[in-house]
């Protein structure tokens, strides 16, 4: 991608003053990447691309949107009907939120399976959790902007969570609202913050990438690179692999945008917000359902009332991820060499799916029990199973090197395709 700095006079002049070409050469052309990355490693760059798509479509939507309780709903309908390509911008943005969460969740579970959060990548992982939190806040506030029924009542319920905090709870909620209920001041500040936070995310993503490039990518074997035979340059090998994955991803994304743009949304949100009437069922967007289930499932715990306990568990469900690098006592990164964890990992996947299913239904009948048990398992998985499995499990022997494991000859030259191994 980047020309070698010495090739061109102008490039050389610029690079001497602003070493941008050296930087690109170093971080793309020379950046050594494990040779065995699977397609699960595409989801990091996909997340980055989704962030760009969301910011670009969002900036143009903001040119047409009016953040006022009397005009917001109509301005969104105007975007849909009158603005040139407004429907496309909005459907890209609306479905983009869902697809952003899909790729980020896959990226996160990839990290969980292959132990990408372990030494020396703890901060890389924690920055990722910070990005997830910021994404959730951004998505929540963005969903309020069209000022539909689900926008309004979702905002009301989620901001009311803070009233569970003892003593200062009500003051905090009034402060968040800027009044006595979710109203125009609330909509205005949500618009402001919804525009701001994506750029904060960009900042944290830069830190995430700096941390990534410090030790490089983890890989499906979870063992460190030991020499040049274990790695290939990022460009062109992984740029082309990322581009291919992007093509496949965009086909699916486009299928939703063009053929079923409302499949992932709630029809209630095409009814204008009415502060005097709650819809029969308040359901968040699908990507929040597991967390919503946790919020609703928790009963009174000792002296903590159910409402506060639910809120604490909701935040705890994300908070526990920060401690993962220390909760996992196993030194082996990849689940491929962990005969017990390999299976337990899938229990978490099933558990989150069950939570999501419970979150989509009213807490009645067996949903109450299923919600409580799956909430309990979520925390048991991280707080108890992670350390205990690490102690008790006997990992399989690790390969001596990446090259030894993935090539027949154990790192002998692959041919002209690997320039680094010509010497």
């Amino acid at each position: 991608m980047a020309a070698a700095p010495q090739q061109n006079k102008i490039v050389r002049w610029i690079d001497h003053r602003l070493p941008i070409f050296t930087f690109m050469q170093h971080e793309l052309n020379e950046y050594p990447t494990p040779r065995n990355l699977s397609y699960w490693w595409n989801f990091g760059s996909l997340s980055g691309i989704m962030l760009v798509i969301m910011i670009v479509t969002g900036v143009f939507l903001a040119m047409q949107y009016t953040p006022n309780v009397n005009m917001a709903f109509d301005s969104v309908e105007r975007i849909m009907r009158d603005v040139n390509f407004g429907w496309l911008l909005r459907y890209l943005h609306m479905n983009g939120a869902s697809f952003f969460f899909i790729v980020v969740y896959v990226h996160l579970f990839r990290g969980l399976y292959y132990g990408s959060y372990k030494e020396p990548r703890e901060l890389l992982w924690m920055l990722g959790v910070v990005i997830l939190l910021l994404m959730m806040a951004t998505a929540f506030m963005g969903y309020v902007l069209p000022w539909g029924q689900m926008s309004f009542w979702g905002a009301k319920v989620i901001t009311s969570l803070f009233s569970a905090i003892p003593v200062v709870g009500d003051s905090i909620v009034r402060w968040l609202w800027g009044g006595f209920s979710v109203d125009n001041p609330t909509l205005n500040r949500f618009f402001s913050l919804h525009y701001l936070l994506p750029f904060v995310i960009v900042g944290v993503v830069v830190l995430h990438l700096v941390a990534l490039h410090q030790h490089g990518s983890n890989n499906p074997l979870g063992i460190d690179r030991k020499g040049p035979q274990d790695s290939i340059p990022f460009h062109p090998y992984y740029t082309v692999k990322d581009m291919f994955g992007l093509g496949v991803f965009l086909i699916i994304y486009a299928a939703f945008v063009f053929y079923m743009p409302n499949a992932l949304g709630d029809p209630q949100n095409y009814v204008q917000a009415n502060p005097m009437q709650t819809p029969l069922e308040i359901v968040p967007e699908w990507y929040f359902l597991p967390f919503y289930a946790i919020l609703r499932s928790v009963p009174d715990i000792l002296f903590i009332p159910a409402k506060l306990a639910g809120v604490l568990c909701l935040f705890g469900a994300i908070g526990v991820l920060f401690f993962l690098p220390w909760l996992d006592t196993s030194r082996v990164r990849s689940a491929r060499f962990r005969p017990v964890y390999k299976w337990v990992f899938w229990l978490l996947v099933i558990d989150v799916a069950v939570l999501g299913y419970c979150g989509a239904h009213r807490p009645e009948g067996w949903f109450i029990l299923a919600g409580r048990l799956s909430t309990l398992y979520y925390f048991v998985h991280f707080i108890i199973l992670f350390p205990v499995i690490g102690w008790l499990e006997r990992p399989l022997p690790l390969p001596t090197s990446i090259a030894a494991a993935v090539t027949r000859k154990g790192g002998a030259p692959l041919g002209a395709a690997s320039p680094m191994e010509k010497h």
Binding site: W153, K156, V157, T159, S160, L161, S163, R174, W175, L176, W177, G178, G179, F180, S181, V182, D183, P185, R189, P275, M276, Q277, T278, L280, E281, I282, R296, P305, A306, K307, R362, P363, E364
Partner: protein
């Protein structure tokens, strides 16, 4: 600060010579820190309810057309307020409840000025939904008051929480009867 970087332990001499500068550094940094913290306050306070929002905080309601057994919803500070012209049976039911069985114990008398008029904020104390029960066709729950569809909280004919996740009774707003049939809420 330079002292701290030296490998040898801090002895009396370096400690003494550092004191003046350390004091200045700590004092200056603290002052800057306090100043920055104070400067944040106007930003935070700007997000609190503005004066015009606060000014809209009373609502007058004409009770004359509300028949016995009828419920009326009015808007006060952006939220619904339930006005219930209670029947004698409903008042009797509200009075007969054993206080020990309540999650948020309050007698019916503590919650009304005139027993036939129950006035409560129509916002579920769980997570802020508007409970059902204002229309004759709405479900009113097992206690004849209101039923919150979001998470199943049930309130009685005094607006007290009886079942479900809500922690408190429906709030009673400040109000006064300006005439026999007019009430000012707020």
């Amino acid at each position: 600060m330079a002292d701290a970087a030296q490998p040898k332990p801090m002895d009396a001499h370096t400690h003494d010579s550092g004191t003046r500068r350390d004091f200045l550094q700590i004092a200056a940094t603290s002052l800057a820190g306090i100043g920055a913290a104070i400067a944040v306050w106007p930003l935070i306070d700007s997000m609190n309810a503005a004066k015009d929002t606060l000014a809209l905080s009373t609502t007058e309601v004409d009770l004359a057309p509300v028949q016995m057994g009828q419920r009326l919803t009015v808007k006060w500070r952006g939220s619904p307020v339930f006005v219930d012209h209670r029947t004698a049976d409903e008042i009797k039911a509200a009075d007969a409840v054993d206080l020990g069985s309540l999650r948020d114990p309050q007698t019916d008398a503590q919650r009304v000025q005139k027993p036939e008029w129950l006035i409560v904020v129509g916002v579920c104390t769980h997570l802020g939904c508007v409970p059902l029960g204002q229309k004759p066709t709405d479900p009113r729950g097992a206690y004849g008051g209101w039923f919150c569809p979001c998470h199943g909280s049930q309130y009685d004919t005094s607006g007290r929480i009886r079942q479900g996740p809500a922690p408190l009774n429906l709030a009673v707003p400040p109000y006064q009867f300006t005439t026999a049939t007019t009430v000012k809420i707020g």
